[in-house]
């Protein structure tokens, strides 16, 4: 094993870890007044780590960690989402009186964990990456520690997350017990042919643990509470970067470790996908809080992502990656819009009734929000439609026609509440006095994301599709 080469391949993680440690000391000595400098350095570190990811490829530390194109794609997407979560945050925390330098540092540590998740080719690396990300996430959820809901979100996330980690670990121990290895390659080799019931239980438990992390039905119950309680920039982060990491991880485990038992996990994934789409659509209808609504929207979208995985083909995985990229843009954009809603005293507003008549007070914001909602609903000229097209195309290509048909039918349920938001903004009278707009960063991010998911996004198809195909081919 060549340590020098291994260290170069894991360079992004090393840059973020060392950078995070240095910034932690800066934060300890300078306190809250260094927040701005630490945030900017954190974004710079993310850029550096992104470049480092692309520079080196190969397996590191005896196939514990893989720096292939698939992990490159995941890394870059995660770093972009994390950097945007950093950029939208400062004003929110300033207003809450909790502008602390620990926020960017925790995001950096979460990114180290997420980077390891997408690169893991061994169950131990997977687990360490997952825990590193989760521990940072628990603290982030309760970052507004004087706010009761934020503290509750952190506690709930921690208890349920620990339970899910236990389930995952139990599944991994079963898989190890029946295959004799924790390495994906070795597991793939020994699971071929007839499979023992114990190993099947291992696969089931591993998938249950991972389903919790991507908040797929029936392990979604924590999502609305945590998303509602966590500070909005943190919710935006939760809905984007960790979703990318956990989905990429699930894909890699399913294909790289359990690829010889596709029939076993395919049924599970199909069930999770359909349950997520339907429940994410139905349960969102009665919600009155925008963040809760977007939580159900994320559950709904995870269902569509998993349809691509259920196909189990290279085309399907490529579709998952395309959908993920579009989903990240739509989600971050929606949160950037919601964060611009403020009450008369500048306090954040996040109720559904608050956006009524928004088109009369702030045309630009209402238009951006409408674009995101139509795109999330998958209505044609917008880019969100393309994500659904590739996913369903892959499912049909793999012979899963009934799945695709049910999925398309169920997506209509979700369209109801997305369009309800648009109706509220454009056709209802404003009932609350609302200040809108909150600094240039939010407006710019909202506008850029709106452009990306607008019909102009279709110009990026050759580029995005090419990268996604390359990444998916690394797994097969």
């Amino acid at each position: 094993m060549d340590y020098g080469q291994s260290l170069l391949i894991t360079l992004p993680e090393i840059i973020l870890s060392i950078g995070g440690l240095v910034l932690l000391l800066v934060a300890a000595w300078s306190g809250a007044k260094a927040t701005r400098a630490v945030s900017i350095s954190a974004v710079a570190l993310l850029v550096a780590a992104g470049v480092a990811t692309l520079c080196y490829t190969g397996d590191a530390f005896g196939a514990l960690y893989s720096g292939d194109q698939f992990s490159d794609f995941g890394h870059v997407l995660i770093y972009i989402a994390a950097a945007i979560s950093l950029m939208i945050a400062p004003r929110f925390f300033q207003r809450a009186g909790l502008a602390r330098a620990e926020y960017p540092i925790l995001i950096l540590y979460a990114c180290v964990g997420m980077g390891m998740m997408v690169s893991a080719t061994d169950f131990l690396t997977l687990y360490i990456g997952l825990e590193l990300n989760s521990l940072a996430a628990y603290v982030l959820a309760s970052f507004l520690r004087t706010d009761e809901r934020s503290a509750e979100a952190g506690l709930k996330y921690f208890v349920l997350g620990a339970l899910a980690s236990g389930i995952l670990l139990f599944g991994m121990s079963l898989v190890y017990g029946f295959t004799g290895s924790t390495s994906f390659v070795a597991v793939l080799g020994s699971l071929g042919g007839g499979m023992e019931t114990g190993a099947l239980f291992g696969i089931v438990f591993v998938l249950a643990g991972l389903a919790f992390k991507i908040s797929a039905v029936p392990f979604h119950m924590w999502t609305p509470d945590v998303y509602e309680g966590a500070p909005t920039p943190v919710t935006a982060f939760f809905a984007s970067a960790p979703k990318v990491a956990a989905t990429a991880l699930t894909v890699r485990v399913a294909v790289d470790a359990f690829g010889t038992q596709t029939l076993a996990w395919q049924q599970i994934i199909i069930f999770i996908a359909l349950a997520s789409i339907i429940l994410g659509g139905v349960a969102a209808i009665g919600q009155t809080n925008l963040k809760r609504l977007l939580a159900y929207s994320s559950i709904n979208n995870i269902g569509f992502l998993l349809i691509g995985l259920a196909a189990g083909t290279q085309e399907g995985i490529s579709a998952v990656l395309v959908y993920l990229s579009i989903y990240v843009a739509m989600t971050l954009g929606s949160f950037a819009c919601i964060m611009q809603l403020r009450g008369p005293d500048g306090e954040p507003r996040e109720e559904l009734s608050d956006i009524a008549g928004l088109s009369q007070t702030n045309k630009g914001l209402a238009l951006a929000m409408a674009i995101f909602m139509f795109s999330l609903a998958g209505i044609p000229p917008l880019f969100g439609f393309w994500g659904k097209v590739v996913v369903f195309d892959a499912a049909i290509g793999a012979g899963l026609l009934p799945l695709a048909v049910i999925g398309i039918a169920a997506s209509v349920i979700g369209a109801f509440y997305y369009i309800k938001i648009v109706k509220l903004m454009y056709f209802d009278e404003s009932r609350t006095v609302l200040q809108t707009g909150d600094g240039k960063a939010l407006a710019w991010i909202g506008a850029i994301m709106a452009l990306l998911v607008s019909p102009l996004g279709y110009f990026s198809i050759p580029l995005l599709g090419g990268f996604a195909n390359n990444a998916a081919s690394a797994l097969f």
Binding site: Y3, L21, L24, L25, A27, A28, W29
Partner: protein, 124 residues
């Protein structure tokens, strides 16, 4: 069939551990009962636990600083627990294993400096 005889040492260890630890618990009780005067009072029968009354509403308030100290203690206690298996296997894991542990200790020290600097260790 799995050869269970290879697990004999751990079985012996568990047996011995349970036996010895029950001796630690029950021997003083027995000796006290046999040699001392048996005059129980309410104060004598009360459980001793860290200075807190043992039975009362679990929602009672007490100082959050106890938690902070306990959490910091656990972190460094675990660090010590990691050092034992590392120390006995140092011969096999070689220079890479040594370097890894040094990195781990270094990171913990940075965490310690942070905790110290932000005042987590100060009682007042």
């Amino acid at each position: 069939m799995v050869d269970l005889s290879q697990y004999l040492p751990i079985l012996l260890f568990l047996g011995v551990a349970i036996a010895i630890s029950s001796i630690f618990v029950f021997l003083p009780m027995g000796v006290a009962r046999l040699t001392g005067a048996h005059k129980p009072t309410a104060a004598k029968l009360a459980e001793y636990e860290c200075g807190f009354p043992a039975f009362e509403d679990s929602r009672s308030q007490f100082d959050v600083r106890f938690y902070l100290v306990a959490i910091l203690f656990i972190i460094f206690d675990l660090e010590a627990a990691f050092l034992f298996p590392w120390a006995v296997s140092l011969e096999e894991i070689g220079i890479a294993g040594w370097a890894t542990m040094m990195v781990f200790l270094f990171e913990l020290i940075i965490g310690f400096i942070y905790a110290w600097k932000v005042g987590a260790l100060e009682w007042e």
